[in-house]
């Protein structure tokens, strides 16, 4: 979490004095709510009452977490974390904190954003804006020296998600040109490769599969993460877990080369997403002036090497990649609150900064034959609006019912359903005659509104997107 202090974004410490709060929530054996480091510490001893990486499940309407015999929605868990942050910030500032800007991966869909906003509200915060993490990082870098009239590529490899965004910064305008990502690719996947390796080696040596022993698995997972971090500095790291199974000890060395081999495909996957984003922005690597690294996983030497080779230039990492997103969110909060912001160029103060973000996923409407008709293509600057005309597909059809979809697949069922759009009372007519104009409007928050107009009768109806039940409690 960060604030704007004397015109500059500043990361503030939580009540434990740490600048980073792990997104882990749990209940202690004495039934106390634990958030952050305290919860993380009991992950081995009390793992069934502890949950981590909830971000990956945000927006899933039917997903529930069981903690202490109670069921929690992902945004309910998220709200617990935000509540702690709010409380800690209030303690630090000695003042009430009521409003906040929250960041999400750029590749989050509308449901995931909606759930995030909901989490903020549940925590008692007015969510001023939900902004994309790579864009936030660009805002933080944009206020540093020499960042004008430049095209930058943000490579954001976090714990659970991967995003790439390309922005152009000119005269205080931050214009996102293209963005893409993968919400299922991140540092956790790198850890998992080490876990798999350790399990396989242990089984080879001791003939025991640890994967069905939760407590041991938790230890292996934590050791794998540490091993990954060690390998950013060392060429060989040792994993030593005494008594992992009865009196057996897991003692395995992993070299950086081994690690690079295990994770080569993950790094390649990020490269292909980066290539796709450049194509979307009609740019080649040489046209990019700066590459910015965001997220802890950009400390992995193979990631640094591969990305810098592909882009043909050194990447910037002079703002802590774990903190830069929070700082950018503070900058956006400063813009929205019209705060004074310090910058190397006087004319670029908060009163002169504008962030033009894009919608990262194509928005469309379901039509006959399980097809998606795109209405607003991805990488369109928001706020935006577009319409498409649809018609009936059988005679005297009185109702048109279709899903509002988000995604890049041609087949409707392969995309994410945001809600239903229902139009009734269509005057009886032969098929193909009624003309119904469906308009989608995305506001600066990335939230979607839909209207439908019967062009025959001129009747306009505003349609609220009915979100799945699970997102409402």
């Amino acid at each position: 979490m960060a604030i704007i202090e004397l015109g500059e974004p500043r990361v503030i410490t939580n009540s434990e004095g740490k600048r980073l709060t792990p997104s882990v929530v749990g209940f202690s054996k004495k039934n106390e709510l634990l958030v952050g480091d305290l919860a993380k510490r009991q992950m081995i001893s009390n793992h069934e009452n502890t949950v981590q990486s909830i971000k990956r499940n945000m927006g899933k309407p039917d997903y529930r977490v069981s903690l202490n015999n109670e069921k929690y929605t992902p945004h309910g868990i998220s709200a617990k974390i935000l509540q702690k942050l709010k409380h800690d910030a209030e303690k630090y500032l000695g003042d009430a904190v009521e409003k906040a800007v929250i960041t999400v991966p750029a590749y989050f869909n509308d449901s995931q954003r909606f759930a995030t906003k909901k989490a903020g509200e549940l925590a008692g915060l007015e969510v001023l804006r939900v902004i994309n993490e790579p864009t936030a990082a660009a805002l933080a870098y944009g206020l540093t020296d020499g960042m004008d009239n430049r095209k930058i590529l943000v490579y954001d490899l976090g714990g659970g998600t991967f995003d790439v965004s390309i922005l152009k910064i000119k005269n205080g305008i931050f214009e996102v040109l293209a963005t893409s990502g993968d919400t299922e690719l991140g540092g956790d996947d790198f850890d998992r490769r080490i876990v798999e390796h350790l399990l396989a080696e242990f089984q080879k040596a001791e003939g025991k599969d640890l994967s069905d022993m939760p407590q041991s698995m938790q230890r292996v997972k934590e050791a794998a993460e540490r091993c990954k971090i060690d390998l950013s500095a060392l060429t060989t790291a040792n994993v030593n877990l005494p008594y992992i199974f009865e009196s057996k000890t897991l003692d395995i060395d992993i070299t950086r080369d081994q690690f690079d081999m295990m994770t080569e495909d993950l790094v390649k996957k990020t490269l292909s997403i980066m290539e796709k984003t450049l194509q979307d922005g009609k740019l080649s690597p040489v046209e990019i002036d700066e590459v910015i690294f965001v997220g802890g996983s950009t400390r992995i030497p193979a990631v640094v090497k591969t990305v810098e080779e592909f882009m043909g230039k050194k990447a910037l990492q002079n703002i802590n990649p774990d903190e830069v997103v929070a700082m950018g969110a503070a900058v956006q909060a400063g813009i929205l609150g019209n705060e004074y912001l310090k910058s190397p160029r006087e004319e670029v103060d908060a009163g002169n900064l504008v962030l033009l973000d894009v919608t990262s996923l194509t928005l469309g409407f379901e039509t006959v034959g399980d097809l998606m008709a795109p209405v607003i293509p991805r990488n369109t600057t928001i706020p935006t609006r577009n319409s498409k005309i649809f018609t009936t597909h059988y005679d005297n059809q009185r109702v048109v019912r279709g899903k509002i979809l988000q995604g890049e697949e041609r087949a409707a069922s392969k995309n994410v359903t945001l809600g239903m759009l229902v139009l009734d009372n269509i005057p009886s007519a032969p098929k193909g005659i009624p003309r119904i104009e469906v308009t989608f409007d995305i506001d600066a928050n990335g939230l979607i509104n839909a209207t439908a107009k019967d062009l025959g009768t001129g009747i306009t109806r505003s349609v609220t997107i009915e979100r799945p039940e699970g997102l409402n409690d």
């Binding site: 000119k170 005269n171 504008v354 033009l356 600057t381 706020p383 506001d443 600066a444």
Partner: protein, 238 residues
């Protein structure tokens, strides 16, 4: 809605000018900046215009769909020429967001009165008039006040001559403006020539004076650099 009018830029504006205007309006109308409830609507319009004008292909297609640029002047309008006033009024679409008054330079409304429609003078156009980019129908009555002008954009010879003959009054206005400009630039030019002559004369005088001083005070130095004749000359004068 004419995107160029919306952005308040000439049709020949460079991509940089288009971008600058977009940035100007984005700062003005983006909902993060503008708190008025219609900021959202205004920004969407600005963005729509920019998305067309920034893409060279879309812009070319859009330019073809535009009617000839018609601008009239209040200053030079004669009482009999009410047409031009009307058309100036008509070409202001009703749904243009208010353009800041300060950004309009005063000369814009008084100089250009008739600029020939690009595509009608474009030899490539006659063969392409049925291409999809031009299939958009144009409501000419909105832009052209006289009934004579309601030809389509096909650029057929009769329609063109019609247009040419009908606009003599305004063409004249334009030439008047041009003559004035030329006069002005001539004046500037002659002024600069005379000042140049004056300056060189003064410099020559100063140089001769310096030389004379040196020749009188230390003739040896001048002799040393091979300017004995100068020393002799000044000796004689003195």
């Amino acid at each position: 809605m004419d995107y160029y009018q919306l952005f308040d830029i000439p049709r020949g504006a460079s991509p940089e000018e288009v971008e600058d205007r977009y940035h100007y309006f984005a700062k003005k109308y983006h909902p993060d900046r503008a708190k008025s409830p219609d900021a959202h609507e205004k920004f969407i319009k600005i963005k729509e215009a920019y998305e067309t004008l920034k893409d060279p292909q879309k812009r070319t297609a859009y330019d073809r769909s535009l009617p000839p640029e018609e601008k009239a002047t209040e200053v030079f309008a004669t009482p009999g020429n009410s047409n031009s006033q009307e058309s100036a009024h008509d070409s202001q679409g009703p749904d243009i967001p208010d353009i800041p008054s300060g950004s309009k330079s005063p000369f814009r409304s008084t100089t250009i009165s008739y600029v020939p429609f690009k595509s009608s003078s474009d030899p490539l156009n006659s063969g392409q008039s049925n291409s999809p980019s031009e299939s958009k129908t144009i409501d000419w009555s909105k832009y052209v006040s006289s009934g004579k002008h309601q030809d389509s954009e096909d650029g057929n010879p009769s329609g063109k001559s019609n247009r040419d003959s009908a606009d003599w009054s305004s063409v004249k206005v334009r030439y008047e403006g041009l003559v004035e400009e030329v006069d002005d630039s001539k004046r500037k030019k002659s002024f600069s020539v005379s000042s140049f002559l004056l300056k060189s004369f003064v410099y020559a005088l100063v140089f001769v004076f310096l030389l004379a001083t040196v020749a009188v005070v230390s003739p040896d130095q001048l002799k040393a650099v091979g300017l004995e004749s100068v020393v002799d000359l000044f000796d004689k004068i003195i």
